[in-house]
């Protein structure tokens, strides 16, 4: 493979556009001969698709009876597979290619994977939340299509060879008699010039992981050779004929409204094509990118004063005092009584700041709006939803809108990819030509959908033996906008500026009782409770008296999912608190956790990380630690991500320089169980990157603002972990479970990093840090309190 698939896709997509309109069936007529299909009607939930999105697609002119293709096998034996889950640097393109090669028994280089193109690929909602493995690698969707196709080919071969299917084996792109490879027929010959349309068969049998030869092996990423040599086509590299360049002009303050634009301030600038204004949205279009940059900087715009921002120093208190929308994850009803009768009550409060996706590239998109026919090259995680909202934004029907995913930088959630797609679409609509827009650094950082700030109040009741008998969680987190989904372009800044409201915030208190089963998707409940809602108990732990109450409040800034959204924040609060309780009882942190855990897989990852790290069994803090100079500590944290999507435990060793307040993380041993492993090296890469990104978020990252605007708008004011930073060695311990369902792995390791660091810091110093980030100033202040 010499060219990355995104490049191939763009070329194919352009060809399809030119010759076949928008129908994926037309495209397949040209390229496939045996096609596995499914009908979107009625099977959305069955096959794990987001039903709302599928029906939204139906409502908006895409008939729900339309057949979406998953796999096509051509007469030359080449396999084309279509997926709605795409690559963001997590290795999913390669893993899905492995999946198809494995299930179809073809060499890897015979598989072409087409990802995330509204004209070509199935609507699989959003590539997010570590949901791609659960969606596509189990017994539905892409994996099932692969198995269906292989069984169909074996049936065709049985007829052709006159041998019962049970005596045939598919291998290396051919079907042959088991034990006699000379009697066989290639897929290409089976398909020949004919057309076969095979319905997705929910009973098709996946290969068992114990028989895998491609999946489960450390296949090298197919896109890395092109990336390492500067040949890879990012969305930033998309060039279409006649393309112009746009830049945005964002308001100077949160809540400012446009008063007037002085177009004479840029009149006559070289290459200037148009100043585009729509309500509070302003874009400048020019022939060349540098001309657009200069014109956007020079354009004189008058804005009203902003709405003002709550003080940053007291923002966590501000959240406590704001109107709330309340929800229970679980409520056994007896927590207050248990707290009142406890031998001892332990409590603590944890604080988390807003943080940014802060992708290495600023967001970019290319849009070509020709009346009601629209093509957008976008790095969005959600091409099908984006199709709808782009149509809403442009005031046209969605039927003519095509979104072609083209890779952007690692996004870690809803970064600027959707909003810049709107920027490009609005500017292209205004000038009638294709427009490429790339945001400037401050445009992106000042207006992102930030990851959530949090306040968490924790309380537990202990009995006389020091066992937890009740757990009481109360948390506050802010919200504004979010993913645009299928119908809310105002959930990101461009849609909002162009006149669409963010999803409405409706206060609601008190919270209704929890119902519909235990849903710990945000890890609001700790691992140590039983998680009983109705008659079902879905928690990992043994604590029966449990109350988990979350308050959502209105955010002054846009918010949205950032790698391990809410789960990292909650896990920081749970796992540090568990450590505090253990320390108060002079119990070993691992042993004390195991005392309250019943989930065998969570117990196993915890024990595995402890063993691999040669865990020093004893209570924290480390005895007789010095109060000056450099001290060393170790800490642990564990989680079942999203309550059902990947087990992880992290043992961290670090040093604290008590004179400078600098924390230096030395070693992280991370054990992971996400079911059968598709690609062990890819999984290690995720564990390493997730852990180090967790170190960055724990020690360094915080959105800052003044009375009117965000002030962390570049890499000096928002400074993540550079390559020159002290970084720990990350050792992954992969637990391959082959008889269970595949779970996600992209967001798991980051989830436990903050708590493991906080606990190791306590072990080293005897001081508890309860507010992220652990900056040297905060560390020194905490240590000073100890000494007084």
């Amino acid at each position: 493979m010499t060219r990355p698939a995104t490049t191939t896709l763009s070329a194919d997509a352009r060809a399809a556009l030119a010759t076949a309109g928008f129908s994926r069936r037309d495209f397949l007529k040209r390229s496939g001969a045996l096609i596995v299909t499914f009908s979107a009607a009625g099977v959305a939930s069955e096959f794990g698709l987001a039903p709302g999105l599928v029906s939204a697609q139906g409502i908006n002119g895409n008939p729900s009876t339309e057949l979406d293709s998953w796999i096509a096998i051509a007469a030359d034996g080449r396999v084309t597979a279509y997926t709605g889950k795409c690559e963001f640097g997590q290795g999913l393109f390669t893993a899905q290619t492995q999946l198809i090669a494995e299930e179809l028994s073809v060499p890897l280089d015979r598989v072409t994977l087409v990802q995330c193109d509204t004209a070509l690929t199935p609507d699989q909602g959003t590539t997010s939340g570590a949901q791609s493995h659960p969606a596509n690698f189990n017994t539905a969707n892409l994996a099932l299509a692969g198995a269906t196709a292989r069984e169909a080919l074996v049936r065709l071969a049985a007829t052709r060879l006159g041998v019962p299917a049970g005596q045939l084996t598919a291998r290396d792109g051919a079907v042959s008699v088991t034990g006699d490879p000379t009697r066989g027929v290639s897929y290409g010959d089976l398909v020949g010039g004919k057309k076969f349309e095979v319905r997705l068969d929910r009973n098709a049998k996946r290969k068992h992981p114990s028989t895998w030869t491609v999946l489960g092996t450390p296949v090298k990423r197919l896109d890395i050779p092109a990336l390492a040599t500067g040949r890879f086509e990012f969305v930033h590299n998309v060039r279409v004929p006649g393309m112009l360049h746009g830049r945005v002009v964002r308001p100077p303050s949160v809540g400012a409204n446009l008063v007037s634009v002085d177009e004479s301030s840029v009149r006559g600038m070289p290459g200037l094509v148009k100043v585009v204004v729509k309500k509070n949205f302003i874009g400048v279009v020019a022939e060349k990118p540098w001309q657009a940059v200069q014109a956007a900087a020079k354009l004189k715009v008058s804005w009203s004063a902003g709405s003002g921002l709550p003080a940053r120093r007291t923002f966590h208190d501000h959240m406590r005092q704001s109107p709330v929308r309340d929800g229970f994850t679980v409520n056994s009803g007896d927590v207050d009584a248990r707290l009142a009768s406890a031998a001892r009550v332990v409590k603590a409060t944890y604080l988390y700041p807003y943080q940014m996706h802060a992708s290495i590239a600023t967001a970019c998109a290319v849009a070509d709006v020709q009346g009601e026919k629209v093509t957008v090259w976008s790095a969005s995680q959600a091409v099908h939803p984006l199709r709808n909202t782009t149509a809403m934004l442009l005031g046209i029907p969605p039927a003519g809108v095509r979104i072609i995913f083209t890779m952007g930088p690692g996004c870690y959630g809803v970064n600027g990819a959707d909003t810049v797609s709107y920027d490009a679409a609005l500017m292209s609509q205004a000038v009638g030509k294709p427009v490429r827009v790339q945001l400037m650094r401050k445009d992106e950082m000042a207006w992102e959908n930030y990851g959530l700030a949090f306040v968490v109040d924790q309380r537990v009741a202990l009995d006389a033996e020091g066992t937890i008998v009740a757990w009481d969680y109360e948390g506050w987190s802010p919200t504004r906008g979010g993913r645009p989904g299928g119908n809310a372009p105002g959930n990101v800044v461009t849609g909002y500026l162009a006149g669409f409201a963010p999803q409405a915030f409706t206060p609601r208190t008190p919270a209704p009782p929890p119902q519909g089963g235990f849903d710990n998707g945000s890890n609001t409940a700790p691992s140590y409770v039983t998680g009983c809602v109705g008659t079902e108990c879905g928690g990992c732990g043994v604590v029966k008296s449990e109350r988990v109450l979350n308050h959502t409040v209105e955010s002054p800034f846009f918010t949205g999912p950032l790698r391990s959204p809410a789960r990292l924040q909650n896990t920081f609060a749970h796992e540090c608190f568990m450590d505090e309780i253990a320390a108060s009882l002079k119990a070993d942190p691992v042993e004390y956790r195991l005392r309250h855990l019943r989930d065998p897989r969570l117990r196993t990852v915890l024990a595995a990380a402890a063993k691999a790290a040669a865990w020093d069994t004893r209570p924290s803090p480390r005895p007789a630690a010095r109060r000056t100079g450099v001290v060393r500590g170790r800490g642990v944290a564990c989680v079942l991500y999203e309550g059902d999507n990947g087990y992880c435990a992290n043992v961290t060793e670090l040093e604290v320089n008590q004179d400078t307040g600098v924390i230096s993380v030395k070693r992280c041993v991370v054990a992971m169980d996400s079911g059968p492993i598709s690609n062990p090296d890819g999984l290690r890469n995720q564990v390493e990157g997730g852990t180090l990104q967790g170190v960055s978020r724990t020690l360094l990252e915080e959105v800052t603002w003044d009375a009117n605007r965000v002030t962390s708008v570049d890499w000096r004011s928002y400074r993540p972990l550079y390559l020159g930073a002290d970084v720990p060695v990350v050792e992954s311990v992969l637990i391959n479970q082959t008889d269970v369902a595949a779970m996600g792995a992209g967001e798991t390791a980051v989830t436990v990093a903050a708590a493991a660091i906080g606990n190791a810091f306590f072990d080293a110093t005897g001081v508890r840090l309860r507010e992220i980030p652990f900056t040297p100033e905060r560390v020194k202040a905490a240590l000073q309190q100890r000494q007084s």
Binding site: A228, E688, G689, L723, G724
Partner: protein, 159 residues
């Protein structure tokens, strides 16, 4: 607009642009190169790095007018997917990236280092890479790839 002559990856180009245009815009827009990338436009992340006279230069803040007649090497000038430069091969072998957007700056900065210092210590590598940002945090593999290349570097063996 003024005409400037640049020799990029061994090929001479004459470009007619505004003299204040940063080199990055010329490379990625006028010459359609995909190696150098816009990360911040502020010389803060390294994604735009190219090599000029053996030095790692941040093309996003370097006006083209200061480079007339220069010889410039970009990531694609080192090697190709079929025939990668040994440093690029080290990154492929180590699978030393995730999204890969930063990797232009990582490799071009490391190239300048190892050309200048064929046998770098870990501290020298760290210092050279200090102002390069990898947001996916592939730090561990990136350093392993640079070490792997430095240790196999023919210059080192003769040094």
């Amino acid at each position: 607009m003024s005409v400037f002559t640049l020799k990029v990856n061994g090929v001479t180009h004459a470009v007619d642009v505004d003299p204040t245009t940063p080199l990055l815009y010329v490379l990625s827009d006028d010459l359609a190169l995909r190696g150098p990338k816009f990360g911040c436009g502020l010389s803060q992340c390294g994604a735009c790095t190219v090599n000029i006279k053996g030095r790692a230069v941040r093309s996003c803040v370097t006006p083209v007018s200061t480079l007339d007649g220069s010889e410039i090497t970009t990531l694609e000038g080192l090697g190709s997917p079929e025939n990668p430069h040994p440093l690029q091969k080290a990154f492929i072998d180590e699978q030393a990236m995730q999204c890969g957007f930063c990797i232009n700056g990582v490799i071009m900065t490391a190239k300048a280092l190892v050309d200048r210092t064929p046998n770098p210590t870990d501290a020298q590598i760290k210092q050279a890479m200090a102002t390069v940002l990898c947001r996916c945090a592939a730090h561990q593999r990136i350093f392993q790839a640079i070490r792997r290349y430095a240790q196999s570097n023919p210059t080192r063996r003769t040094a």
